[in-house]
Amino acid sequence: MPSRAAPNLWSSDPALKDLDAAGAMALLDDSVELYLDIAAAFQQEISDLPARVSALLKTNLADATRALHTIKGLSLTVGANRLSDVCRQCELTLKGLMQQGQTADAALQQSIEETLARAVALTQQALDRTLIELASPEPPVTAPQAAPAAPLETLVPDLRLLHKLLTQSDLQALDVFNALSARNTGHEQTLLGIEQALKAFDFGKAVVQCDELIRRAGTTH
């Protein structure tokens, strides 16, 4: 098939912002804490987007389209309007190709990867600036001496409650875990496995981690 001229996937709308954090926060009940949380997760999510989409374009257009669709929606949630628009343009282009039974040629693949890379870079820079502005000031240098960590078995009642909520797929598990972490300084490393599983919303993995901690608490008792 002859190579087509790659379409311009960059929006010419001058009003489009790389990042509208205030607008996004308004949709999050003005919760700075929640915005910081999801923006950090979003940054991680888009860090490999150009490479990920580029790889998918070579193997499966439907999967590439789905990845772009997902980032289009997430971008709007954090206010990354430029990136959302670029994803929308790419998604539309790929959908058009699929409807015609065509594949993405090398020129289009390159155009998509470059356009995405540019939009992601601008978004990351804007997010970096915004997150620094929004983040709380650093704690004083002379922080008080941390209290020694409580024995592991004292965590067991909370871990059991957490376990129950996790097995029920109940999102209250997030709040219970946050409270558990806040009450148990010194156990950050112990709870790290659960924290990571919860961040990925992998409740199955978090249940396994909970089981393991409850078992360990039993053996140290």
């Binding site: 996004a24 949709l27 999050l28 009940d29 919760s31 929640l34 949380d37 999801i38 997760a41 979003f42 999510e45 789905r66 669709h69 997902t70 289009k72 929606g73 997430l74 709007l76 949630t77 954090v78 029920q168 797929s169 109940d170 999102l171 209250q172 997030l174 709040d175 961040k199 990925a200 919303f201 992998d202 409740f203």
Partner: protein, 319 residues
């Protein structure tokens, strides 16, 4: 089961147990945003893919589902289609939450049975208002559906619901190899009671008997229905013959202890009941009607051997 005494507005109030929402999305960020939107007023559950969502709904049906469209594996449209073709989940309202802005996609979702379609990023006030509206409609429709299955006089389930549930429980018992017990009972000399005390008093007595039976069965799966006239039925899933015997004798005693005067009865000076109890144990019986027939025969036996008593039996092996 919704308490029929509870107004719909109160069902949306956390004091009656928070309504259950299921958020289905493959993106943690979206789940987190939805959770923060609803955490205060609802019990919020999550599934990160279509299969998980269907499995959750089968075991713990939520009051409403917020469903993403584009997901790996089963997409939201397919999940909605499967929910709507399953009797146990077809009544759960589904709201699609998606980055799609295509009217054709929206129409497709609504044609599949979704009640609403909300675009991402969601406006929290709008999504909360829509969820509240659809939950109100859902609870109203649940109430109406239940009213169809209630006996007007006694407020326990009616014969139509009994017929439906006994068939369901028979099939379930067959699959799980668990016992199933059925009690049929009849108020003794009820025609003479009506003749002596009048139909108004007869209705009052039936209401009291029904509420006593209902309050005596404590497990959520147990069920009391008005079988017809002054006859009632109790379905006791996963209940062995011995355990059902205890319940049958307890019911007979509790009705007698109500102390409703019945001077025309030859059994006692109070209202009494005759009870037939039949139990299906694993692999016994070929048909649900055999169980009902046996319970009916045992009730007949109780009536013809003096009334105010329990007769029981176990269904024979399947042929």
């Amino acid at each position: 089961m919704i308490d029929l005494e509870t107004p719909v507005a109160e069902l949306l109030d956390s004091t009656h147990g928070k309504p259950k929402l299921l958020v289905v999305d493959d993106q943690p960020i979206n789940i987190q945003v939805m959770y923060r939107c609803f955490a205060g007023d609802y019990q919020v559950f999550m599934a990160t893919n279509g299969e998980q969502a269907l499995s959750f709904c089968a075991s713990n049906p939520p009051d409403l589902i917020l469903l993403d469209v584009v997901m790996p594996g089963l997409d939201g449209f397919e999940v909605c289609k499967r929910l709507k073709t399953n009797d146990a989940t077809s009544h759960i309202p589904v709201i699609f939450v998606t980055a799609h802005t295509d009217p054709a996609q929206e129409t497709h979702g609504l044609n599949l049975g979704a009640v609403d379609f909300i675009a991402k990023p969601v406006n929290p006030d709008v999504v909360r208002a829509r969820v509240k509206t659809h939950l109100t409609l859902k609870f109203q429709s649940d109430l109406l559906r239940q009213l169809v299955f209630l006996d007007g006089l006694t407020s326990v389930f009616n014969r139509r619901y009994f017929d439906q549930q006994i068939a369901t429980e028979w099939a379930r018992a067959g699959r799980s190899n668990e016992p199933l017990s059925l009690i049929l009972l009849d108020v003794d000399f009820f025609k003479l009671y009506n003749d002596r005390y009048g139909h108004q008093a007869g209705d009052d007595a039936l209401r009291l008997v029904a509420s006593t039976l209902k309050n005596s069965l404590r497990r959520p799966a147990d069920l009391v229905a008005r079988f017809g006239g002054e006859e009632f039925a109790c379905i006791l899933p996963e209940t062995s013959h011995d355990d059902a015997m205890v319940i049958a004798y307890d019911l007979e005693r509790k009705i007698r202890e109500l102390g409703i005067p019945h001077q025309s009865s030859t059994v006692d000076s109070m209202i009494t009941i005759s009870v037939g109890l039949a139990t299906r144990i694993a692999s016994s019986g070929n048909d649900v009607n055999e169980l009902i027939g046996l319970a009916d025969n045992l009730l007949y036996k109780a009536k013809h051997t003096g009334r105010g008593r329990v007769c029981s039996g176990v269904l024979g092996p399947a042929t």
